[in-house]
Symmetry: C2
Subunit: 237 residues, 2 copies
Amino acid sequence: MLYRDVKRTLIADISSGAVPPGGALANEADLAKRFGVSIGTVRRAVDELVADHILVRQQGRGTFVGKLDRERFMFQFFKMARRDGPAEFPAVKLLSWLKSRATQAEARLLGLVAGAAVFRIDNLLSLQNNPLMHDRIVLDASLFSGLTQAQFEQRAGTIYELYQMAFGVTVVGAEERVQAVAVSQDSAELLGLAVGSPALRIERIAFTFDQKPAELRVSIVDTRDADYVSRLVGQSN
Amino acid sequence: MLYRDVKRTLIADISSGAVPPGGALANEADLAKRFGVSIGTVRRAVDELVADHILVRQQGRGTFVGKLDRERFMFQFFKMARRDGPAEFPAVKLLSWLKSRATQAEARLLGLVAGAAVFRIDNLLSLQNNPLMHDRIVLDASLFSGLTQAQFEQRAGTIYELYQMAFGVTVVGAEERVQAVAVSQDSAELLGLAVGSPALRIERIAFTFDQKPAELRVSIVDTRDADYVSRLVGQSN
DNA sequence: AAGTGGTCTAGACCACTTG
DNA sequence: AAGTGGTCTAGACCACTTT
């Protein structure tokens, strides 16, 4: 399982920051020399990392560490799409920001001890100036130590890009659990719904390499005009 | 793009029934001879079909056409899981069966003309004897010509396995659109909910090779005890 | 023991991007 | 022109399953 070792080392290089987001990997021949394997073996390791969207290959240019920019966020992490049109990047407005302590349930989901310090960040997301959903993000404060509200609000790109650039926390995947709920008064006001209307509740645990949880996010979504879209694999061309 | 040609030919062999579900492919060396390419090129084509779950490799035994059995159905097409436990195969009870004509919306989703002949099949799915969800399936009658209620009720395996075995229709993927709705009286009675309670509505279009739509299915799901679970990729080990 | 897929090698040539 | 990834070859040996 040589290619496994190569893959592990490449992941270590990325998660340690030795190769930064957007940075180029060494070329395939050099990697092969460094690891003492053939180019084919390097390619196999890189193939898998490309399949996971951790690396991006560009023929003729090189292989780069994938940035969690808008395009990737839309592709991988934003599943809502209006029924009448194509997917679109949402406008995000910060509603509240506070440092707090994890409840027992939050601690379990994030792999922390109950009462651990966390950041709580609430956002309102809109499409075409219409409120669509409301996110409540919970972050392990020790993983994002020093994060400030100003830093969060003034970020240039996506939230995950901020995690990656400023804290070396690369979100590589997530698990979402979706259910239907009756909206509370708070959510109803934010989304322009009647209290008790049906809405989606999405609980997302985003994780980094090694499946380590990095973020807990609970979204309440108005699905009068948009759907949660899920593709059950199967390309085959 | 030799391996692309190999892949296309293998797909043609499968969808034509030349290699039946569960049947073995020729071994890699023979395939290489047949296509006049190296084993590595055959492997690449087969790799992609395995990634799409169309083929299954078993070291030392051979490569087989994947059957749409319970295991695969659970893995790929059944996303509901109880919050208190692991995923579990649902019991399916036929509620109604009739031959009818496609509405305009159904025809659009299935790629038919409005008024085309369709089968309408309603099922109730339960976990641990508790009703969980209610499916309304719409099938193009010309694609499943000769399908009878008895055949449907007496099938041995999954519904998709019946499509595959009896009609040569292999479902390889699907797109699901999920929204929250207030349940109608019919659904409420079936699921033991109060009328107007929030529930998930899942609209699934299942497709075969070439993305041709094969089935439309609308599910109403009670999420008091179970979630719709979605994994946003990212393995990376 | 024979046959299968799983991994790996050490090249080759092609397509694409950049200076 | 030089450098990169993309594809392909023709082997080799290993791990596993079946006879």
